[in-house]
């Protein structure tokens, strides 16, 4: 025992020194150090880290990037609880709204005023999340929805003239007809054939992940929304609203052109399912271009979503926010500008993941060319389907302005499981849950 004590003491001292050394080194390097939290794939991580590196080289500001791929808000919540919030990061709109009200986020309005290099008018209007006179955050990037299809499947079914411009969009009935031609059973018959066997489908005409995003896209095209026109009058339960959900249910149970969520469980990811012809069309967000582009065997095309009463496009995006606990909000603001600029994080835009948040990149040819010129990630028609509508006819997602958006979906979507299972109609389900929904339908934030 006597011998060991000095050794133990030495070890402890050595440990302390080792722990202190890095701290000293960092302190000498830079005065400002930011913590930046974000989510994303490993691909995104590489691009974001490169952008951060160039930011540090340019400004001398140290940034510690922290990727949180899952349970992002849970992790952030615990960081806030431990008084260890990041300086700057991504955030989903409903949570951003709450945390802004609770005083955890900086009013970005002031940063706009202090920074002459950017103006509010530069941005796509809905990308700026306003609350009263304040600004909660600015969307880092935009996302919108489209139909992606397997060219091979379309060729085989003899379908050409795929609409890319909004005015040429298929009506819903035309879309169902196309989907039926593309749904093929194991004997090779399509869904229009009277002998078609819906129990053994080899290739489904269409697939859509059943969450609020693509439904918002379709709701808008049927002239409604959770709260149409950002009003306080809800669309939920109205015929136009219910109709959209019922139409999707009918794709599964009446037309047999779309897998039920259970059947979809056994399918590979959309990119592989398109390539292996399990699906002929996929309704999804444009970020999937980033997954589609690297699969060389997949020749895919892009089409307008079907039109019901309108062709207005919906867009959404994660917000960039700055935390009140940050000692360097201006530096954090600069970092956000840098990471989300098309010139700096070119790959994120060009390789398919993001769409820009500033207007100029949708109207100025040189700027459009930076991110949307033709490539594996930006196939022919991309511009008609996804670029132009954003500036000419689009609306921001309800996530940004609908009060209790998350709580409403927590009730709506589990209840809709009964519809996807083919047990009830949308009208029945919505009538049943309306008493639970009513206290949550508090209108729009603005």
């Amino acid at each position: 025992m006597k011998l060991r004590r000095p050794i133990l003491g030495l070890l402890l001292v050595a440990l302390m020194v080792a722990a202190a050394v890095p701290a000293v080194v960092f302190a000498q390097k830079s005065d400002i150090k930011l913590t930046f939290t974000y989510w994303g794939s490993t691909y995104e991580k590489a691009v974001i880290e490169a952008a951060i590196k160039s930011f540090t080289e340019k400004t001398g500001i140290e940034v510690e990037p922290m990727i949180i791929p899952t349970d992002y808000e849970t992790k952030l919540l615990t960081m806030i609880a431990a008084n260890d919030a990041p300086d700057v990061g991504y955030l989903g709109p409903p949570t951003a709204y709450k945390w802004f009200r609770d005083g955890h986020l900086v009013d970005i309005k002031e940063l706009f005023e202090s920074d002459p290099s950017v103006k509010e008018e530069d941005f796509i209007d809905g990308a700026i999340f306003r609350y009263g006179d304040s600004i909660v955050g600015v969307m880092n990037n935009l996302e919108s929805f489209a139909i992606f299809y397997s060219k091979a499947a379309f060729e085989e079914a003899g379908i050409d003239n795929v609409p890319t411009k909004p005015e040429d969009a298929w009506t819903w009935d035309e879309f169902v007809e196309i989907a039926k031609r593309l749904t093929i059973d194991r004997s090779g018959r399509n869904a229009l054939d009277p002998n078609f066997d819906p129990k053994s489908i080899r290739q489904y005409g269409v697939y859509m992940n059943l969450w609020s995003g693509p439904f918002e896209a379709l709701l808008l095209r049927n002239g409604t929304q959770y709260f149409p026109g950002m009003s306080d009058e809800t669309g939920i339960g109205t015929p136009a609203f219910n109709e959209v959900f019922q139409k999707i249910a009918d794709l599964m149970h009446v037309h047999h052109v779309m897998p039920t969520p259970t059947a979809a469980q056994s399918m590979p990811a959309p990119a592989v399912s398109l390539q292996s012809r399990r699906y002929a069309m996929v309704i999804d967000g444009q970020w999937v271009c980033n997954d589609f582009a690297p699969i060389e065997e997949l020749e895919y095309g892009i089409a307008q979503l079907p039109k019901m009463t309108s062709t207005t496009a919906v867009y959404s995006g994660a917000l960039g926010v700055i935390f009140s606990s940050s000692k360097h909000p201006e530096a954090a603001w600069q970092l956000l500008q840098h990471i989300t600029s098309v010139e700096e994080s070119t790959e994120l835009f060009r390789d398919g993941l993001w769409m820009p948040n500033k207007k100029a990149y949708y109207v100025d040819e040189d700027k459009i060319a930076l991110w949307a010129s033709e490539s594996r990630a930006r196939v022919p028609g991309y511009r008609d389907v996804l670029v132009d509508p954003i500036v000419y006819d689009s609306e921001v997602t309800g996530e940004v302005y609908v009060k209790n958006f998350g709580d409403i979906n927590n009730i709506l979507f589990p209840a809709l499981d009964q519809v996807w299972a083919g047990k009830k109609t949308v009208d029945q389900v919505i009538t049943e849950i309306m008493p639970q929904l009513e206290p949550l339908l508090e209108g729009s934030i603005r």
Binding site: E73, A81, A263, D407, N410, A415, D417, A421
Partner: protein
Amino acid sequence: MRKEEAYGYLMAAPAILGFFIFTLGPLLASLWLSFTDYSVTNVYKFVGLANYKRLFSGADPFFYKSLGVTLYYVALSVPITIVSSFLMALLLKQKFKGRGLVRVIVTMPSIVPAVAVATIFLWLLNPDIGLFNEILRALHLPTSQFIYSETTVVPTLAMMNIWTMGSTMLIFLAGLENIPEQYYEAADVDGGGPIYKLFHITIPMMSPTIFFNLIMGLINGFQTFTQAYIMTEGGPNNASLFYSVYLYREAFTNQRMAVACALAWVLFVIVLLLTLVVFRTSGWVYYEGDRQ
């Protein structure tokens, strides 16, 4: 002697401090927070019993639903696990060649991380390409939607729980090894068969172990989280919205930490009451040396 005593406390200090700081502290804090409107990010205020009222009045549509789902799961999984692991322990107590190896194989699944088990079962239970339905089809038996149907999801998860019976079975096995051989020998002399021995020696002698496993099973059953969180996210139509999943969702997704604290305390009281009831009705448990 005194010094030794001091060292004793010193050595135990980390565990004692750990309990007070990291267990008892948060426990009491959560009790206090359940009477506030704490959401982690807000400046919270005292709201009295509002959170509890919200739960019991049914204003939150998921409280009774999740309670019902959890009770149903406990009622299914606890007996299934106890009976199956007891039978397995009886089997593994027999002397046969390779017994050690079989014991290891049966115990192993319980050390596989729950997330890995859940992920593998997602494949096995897949209605279209999963192994279970393939087997049923090959035997010309009706197939099941398993975790994808409201009616079968909870029974499926309860059955899946058998997979991790290893630890319960080990406790039973230890208990079985402790039964004195003389009892069986005496039964042999009196001409008692194996069934007689099972019901008149093994089960009565094992009753304290069964009792222990019953209590632990109840407590664990009420806290079931992982399978539902990973495999079903509470669906379909909230049919597997276990209490703990709902609690987690309230705390972190819906950011109503105070409601989650109230939920935790309600669960605590429920489990406490149930355990008391089980203790009160434990006349069937036989303790050697006790007066019956």
